[in-house]
């Protein structure tokens, strides 16, 4: 297990504990610290959700069994968390095993299909329409989570930056404004790709580029030719693996 996979599991299901995760944590101080921070955050979330959402009167708090605000810092407990953790562990472990078994080195065709399905899926609805430049702090965090660095020209502002799960790995999903309109760029560290490949699927056209340390997908809506933009952008992305 690598750091990005460990952080995905921790961030999605912090109560999780598997032998594979523990083995990784035993040798990675940064991920151990990330888990400590995420467990603390999750404990706060759990406490907070023992109260109803803001805007509800005291009658509701009585109905949900909360007598006083002090209850906000009581109850929950680690036993319940760990019980839930083992259930979560099984499901996430299955996902990780599935990744290891079925996703390692597949053809570019399969990769293109997964990228286009992800980009055109409900999760990313609206990602194309952003015009405001992404906050630097958000962008930095998204890139750092996946071990990617990007140094684009100011003429290519990044207007969308999110961490996404693709093939069981956390990868940045970026939308960049270019001369041909918005293009989606997904740097994929650790992805194995034998050669450059163009595709036109699910109403999207694009190119997959092998890159030291992984691969990069660059795509646009419709049938736009992204080859020039992709070549330019790929020169400015580093995958740290």
């Amino acid at each position: 297990m690598i750091c990005e996979d460990a952080r995905l599991v921790i961030g999605a299901a912090p109560d999780e504990s598997t032998a594979e995760l523990e083995a990784h944590l035993a040798g990675c101080a940064e991920c151990r610290e990330f888990r400590v921070q995420t467990l603390a955050l999750n404990e706060r979330i759990r406490r907070v959700m023992q109260l109803p959402p803001p805007g509800f009167d005291a009658g509701v708090t009585a109905q949900v069994g909360i007598g006083a605000p002090a209850a906000i810092v009581q109850t929950t407990g680690r036993q319940a968390a760990w019980r839930r953790g083992w259930a979560l562990a099984a499901s996430v472990l299955l996902a990780v095993v599935a990744v290891a078994l079925f996703w390692p080195v597949q053809s570019g065709t399969a990769l293109a299909g997964e990228v286009t399905r992800h980009v055109s899926g409900p999760e990313e609805r609206g990602s194309w329409d952003n015009t405001a430049v992404a906050e630097q702090g958000v962008l930095d965090r998204v890139l750092q989570q996946s071990g990617v660095s990007v140094a684009l020209e100011p003429s290519h502002p990044i207007v969308y930056a999110h961490s996404c799960v693709l093939r069981g790995r956390l990868v940045p999903h970026l939308v960049i404004q270019t001369d041909i309109g918005p293009v989606t760029v997904m740097p994929m560290p650790g992805e194995s790709l034998a050669r450059r490949q163009t595709f036109n699927e699910n109403g999207l056209s694009g190119v997959l580029l092998p890159q030291p340390g992984g691969a990069i997908a660059v795509l646009a809506r419709g049938t736009a030719d992204v080859s020039v933009v992709a070549a330019e952008i790929s020169q400015r992305i580093r995958l740290r693996r």
Partner: protein, 168 residues
């Protein structure tokens, strides 16, 4: 005197457990809907459905999860029917109960507002996981999503909350 057999005792026990779980179900529904009227409707309808379908519950230890699933589905049904697509979180915050607003822990109150402000795509799976105890595969199954999509949503939800805390 009414004679009571094992079946009567079983029904009475089911009813007692249902009532005992009601506060948890209401809390769950409130976080799903962020609307008291909907949450009340959801829980009421859910308990009615659970009562009618109690024979389907063969594993008594699965009662809690079974009820939470009914609430989640009932919420989806009512939510879609009434088409309350947005909730004004600013209004919710403005209407903050004075009793709850004086906990003295601004960070927790801020986090509570940040959770309430999450869009459905993030808040619903987070609520299912944190309050409902659903696994990621169960959430995926219930919401009709891939497990990767659920992992993404949960990861992002916590990322947004972490960011909100950092901004305080």
């Amino acid at each position: 005197m009414i004679a009571g057999g094992p079946e009567t005792a079983k029904v009475a026990d089911f009813e007692r457990q249902l009532q005992a779980l009601r506060p948890q179900l209401l809390r769950f529904a409130l976080w799903l809907a962020r609307d008291r009227a909907i949450a009340d409707d959801v829980v009421q309808e859910s308990m009615l459905r659970a009562w009618k379908a109690r024979a389907e519950l063969t594993d008594a230890s699965a009662l809690r999860q079974w009820l939470f699933t009914i609430v989640r589905r009932e919420h989806a049904r009512l939510y879609e029917r009434k088409r309350f697509e947005t909730t004004d979180v600013d209004l919710l915050v403005a209407n903050e109960s004075p009793e709850l607003a004086v906990s003295g822990d601004e960070e927790l109150l801020g986090l509570r507002r940040a959770i309430a402000a999450l869009t459905d795509e993030y808040r619903v799976p987070l609520t299912m996981q944190v309050l409902g105890g659903f696994s990621t595969s169960e959430i995926a199954s219930e919401l009709g999503l891939t497990q990767a999509a659920v992992l993404t949503r949960l990861f992002r939800a916590r990322d947004k909350l972490r960011e909100a805390l950092n901004d305080m």
